[in-house]
Subunit: 148 residues, 4 copies
């Protein structure tokens, strides 16, 4: 992984209800649903730091390059989950995000942990492009660090 500023203060938390249809034939939440929750947490973070606006103004935006997830415990219905999220590193054009999924009915115990690598891409060329300074500063601020 390329270098970049180390962060990772887990500033954001989102809660979602488990839907009955999230349960699969093995009687627990299907493994892909965890990634839908995580995706929503990611989009909320993107919204908070202004990334989504770049799409309209600059035809730039983040793409999901890779993800890794460890499933620790099953989630059942009914339940709700907390998705805690953080950006752990900002590189030149890429960044790493972390996610912790916890189950409310289970005393908020962590049931899955995931990491994602995102890349800022110019949608016209399809090529990686630098993460704008304003976004970088906003992320550092959200993570609770000083940008000085």
């Amino acid at each position: 992984m390329e270098g970049g500023k180390e962060l990772g203060n887990w500033p954001l938390n989102y809660s979602f209800q488990v839907l009955w249809g999230d349960i699969d034939a093995l009687n627990h939440v299907n493994h892909t649903v965890f990634l839908k929750w995580i995706e929503t947490a990611r989009m909320n973070y993107f919204s908070d730091c202004g990334i989504m606006e770049l799409l309209e103004t600059d035809q730039k935006g983040p793409i999901l390059a890779s993800l890794k997830i460890d499933y620790l415990k099953p989630v059942l219905f009914p339940d709700s989950v907390n998705i805690r999220t953080t950006i752990t590193r900002i590189g030149n054009s890429s960044f790493d995000m972390g996610y912790r999924v916890s189950s409310t009915s289970n005393g908020d115990v962590i049931v899955a942990e995931a990491t994602v690598v995102g890349v800022m891409v110019n949608y016209q060329t399809g090529r990686p492009t630098e993460i704008p300074k304003s976004i970088r500063e906003r992320i550092i601020e959200i993570e609770g660090y000083s940008t000085q």
Copy 2:
């Protein structure tokens, strides 16, 4: 539609967050997601009135025979929805349920209305079977009517 006791007091309400991935290529919540919310509301109602326990004790349970839904307004992300639900009729082996989907960001305005016909089925024979008296009475009570 066969006869049966008329009910319909809309006693239950459940709230769900819109997930980012619920949005489709037309930039609003995909029409099938409304039915996932409604399904969860239905299962919660079933849980409340004791139907789900029949599955284990009597090998009986409700099946979804048909549904009808009118889509009135699109739902966007981010938003949350309320799903209000009621049983409007209990027949011998079938029952009718109603659902109203409303959007929080939109002043709780109704965005979709649905009705469902459920049938109580014996899972061993696959045939319709009478709705047990205890379930019937519990539903009448949830709907706020006297069972006397």
Copy 3:
């Protein structure tokens, strides 16, 4: 239902594999998955008759106003399904579509039947608008009728 030209020759058929994750806790394909197959059949029909191009050229397009579906038999995994589709009526701005879902493993027996009301809408005003003559003629042709 408003009047309009009666059609309904079931000209199109699409096949889809059941995915393992389509199965829910009741061990059959979740009821919302039928509507995803049907939606894809609808979009394919729209593509065939040129409706999707109106979106780009005229800012017009069809919206789903309502749907009704009867579930006749469960679908299991593994299996594949056929989705047969037809437009049964073209009105001034609305149209009716029919769908038959059948299960391959089950001798192509019909497992669900659905009808949908679509409305042609001007996306700028949000109001119903006339179905263009070229689309109307293309639909009549697909359904195997003469446009003379």
Copy 4:
């Protein structure tokens, strides 16, 4: 990763149609859909090697411990995909699987690559348990190696 027999001949291939509803607001197939295709390929492999029968006879079965996926290119609608799959390692109680997702409309070019760690678990104790010899031999056979 613990040791074990090295395999990995990519013996199996499954094809799926992209559904219209698989497309998200970014106009390509949502990243979670890749994992639904992969899951189905995994279940088909499990079926082929007899793992699924252990569930009924021995109350043992595989669980998904972790997954990693790299997204290389977007998939659009309409399209179909091939999911090639292999078991690359069988350990005592765990095993590694590989997946290659390719797009038919794109000359079968690889659009995503994934690896999964599965663990054989005793569902009564929730603890890892040895992969039975019969399963091990069947997997080696499917992968095209001699079990002598």
